[in-house]
């Protein structure tokens, strides 16, 4: 007796075992930086004191100076930014003879948020720096402690001074 044995072979050609293939990546890194910076949005204001002498005795009327304020606006984007104030006394160009004064000194205080810096015009130069960090908003400048060198009579005329608020971003290294 004969038996038929069929050996079947797969008709389909199986794909060869998957060859190991390596994915290839190309990478574009994108870096940038923002420099530490400070900027004033409102960089100038004027405090007009008006008449600063007392009609009764011709001496400085401190009430015309103390408490007067104006508001600058600015920002710094650096956590290590600092603020300083430089107050320059009010002066009149006329020479003051004995008994008179042609200079008004005061203290200027700049406040933004919870940070303040101040300077007295009695001594030249800026006051101590205060760390202001990142902030954006008002910087209120207020005058106080007005005085004249000799508590003398005020020479007539116009008196000019100013308060300079300086914002300084710190130096950074790397990106």
């Amino acid at each position: 007796m004969r038996k038929l044995i069929i050996l079947s072979a797969p008709l389909a050609l199986l794909a060869a075992p998957a060859m190991a293939q390596t994915a290839v990546d190309g990478t574009v890194d994108i870096n940038g930086s923002v420099a530490g910076r400070c900027m004033f949005i409102v960089p100038n204001k004027t405090i007009s004191l008006g008449e600063i002498s007392l009609a009764s005795n011709g001496k400085l009327d401190v009430s015309k100076v103390n408490g007067r304020s104006e508001t600058l606006t600015g920002w710094c984007n650096n956590t290590t930014a600092a603020m300083t104030v430089t107050a320059t006394q009010l002066t009149n160009a006329t020479t003051a003879p004995t008994g008179f004064d042609n200079r008004v000194d005061y203290t200027a205080t700049a406040v933004t948020g919870s940070t303040s810096a101040n300077d007295s015009s009695v001594t030249a130069g800026a006051g101590s720096a205060s760390s202001v960090g990142l902030f954006s908003g008002d910087i209120v400048v207020t005058l106080s402690n007005a005085s004249t060198p000799n508590n003398g009579l005020m020479v007539a005329g116009t008196y000019n001074g100013n308060v300079v608020v300086t914002l300084t971003p710190t130096v950074t290294v790397g990106g």
Partner: protein
């Protein structure tokens, strides 16, 4: 295919310059004030000068103006806070309260010289020249210009008391006054 692992790296890096100096920013609050031009006269040490008896009570000059010593009043701490000020005086002779025109030989006026010193070089002075009937009693004068702001005690002295024509003074109360003005000098106003 012989594939090799490859890496293409394109780095876009914006590095800030190392330790780059960063500029500061400043805001400025200008402070402006004014002081008006003013002069203030100190309160006179005596606002009333009482000369007492004006006529001699005895001797050859009885009834005529007596020898009256100079009278000085001080205005302490007077000041002007500007350059170019002066003291002016307006002096009015002493005249009798009774305005009746006196008879011949009599006078109802006592003249004098008012002198203010201590402000500028020289003095401000005015000498009254009232007639015996009391008319024309007022005289004015302005001193030199003070070229600087000045604070000083101004002394006002009344002296040289005379009667017009040295005539006999009519009886009664006599009064006059001196007005001292401290203010800006007027060009050509000096006496």
């Amino acid at each position: 295919m012989n594939c090799k692992y490859g890496l293409a790296l394109i780095a876009l890096v914006a590095l800030p310059a190392t330790a780059a100096a960063q500029s500061t920013e400043s805001g400025t609050v200008d402070v402006v004030g004014t002081v008006r031009s003013i002069c203030i006269l100190g309160d006179p040490t005596s606002a009333l000068v009482d000369l007492g008896q004006l006529s001699a009570a005895s001797g050859p000059r009885t009834g005529r103006v007596a020898v009256i010593p100079p009278q000085t009043v001080t205005l302490p701490g007077s000041f002007c806070n500007f350059a170019g000020s002066a003291v002016s005086i307006s002096a009015t002779a002493l005249t009798a309260a009774d305005a009746t025109n006196p008879q011949a030989g009599f006078a109802r006026a006592v003249n004098y010289t008012a002198t203010a010193t201590g402000w500028a070089a020289g003095a401000s002075l005015a000498t009254t020249g009232a007639a015996r009937d009391g008319t024309g009693p007022t005289a004015e004068g302005t001193g030199a210009t003070q070229p600087l702001p000045q604070v000083a005690d101004i002394s006002l002295t009344l002296s040289s008391f005379t009667a017009p024509g040295d005539q006999i003074l009519v009886s009664g109360n006599y009064s006059g006054n001196v007005i001292v003005t401290l203010g800006p000098a007027i060009a050509g106003g000096e006496n």
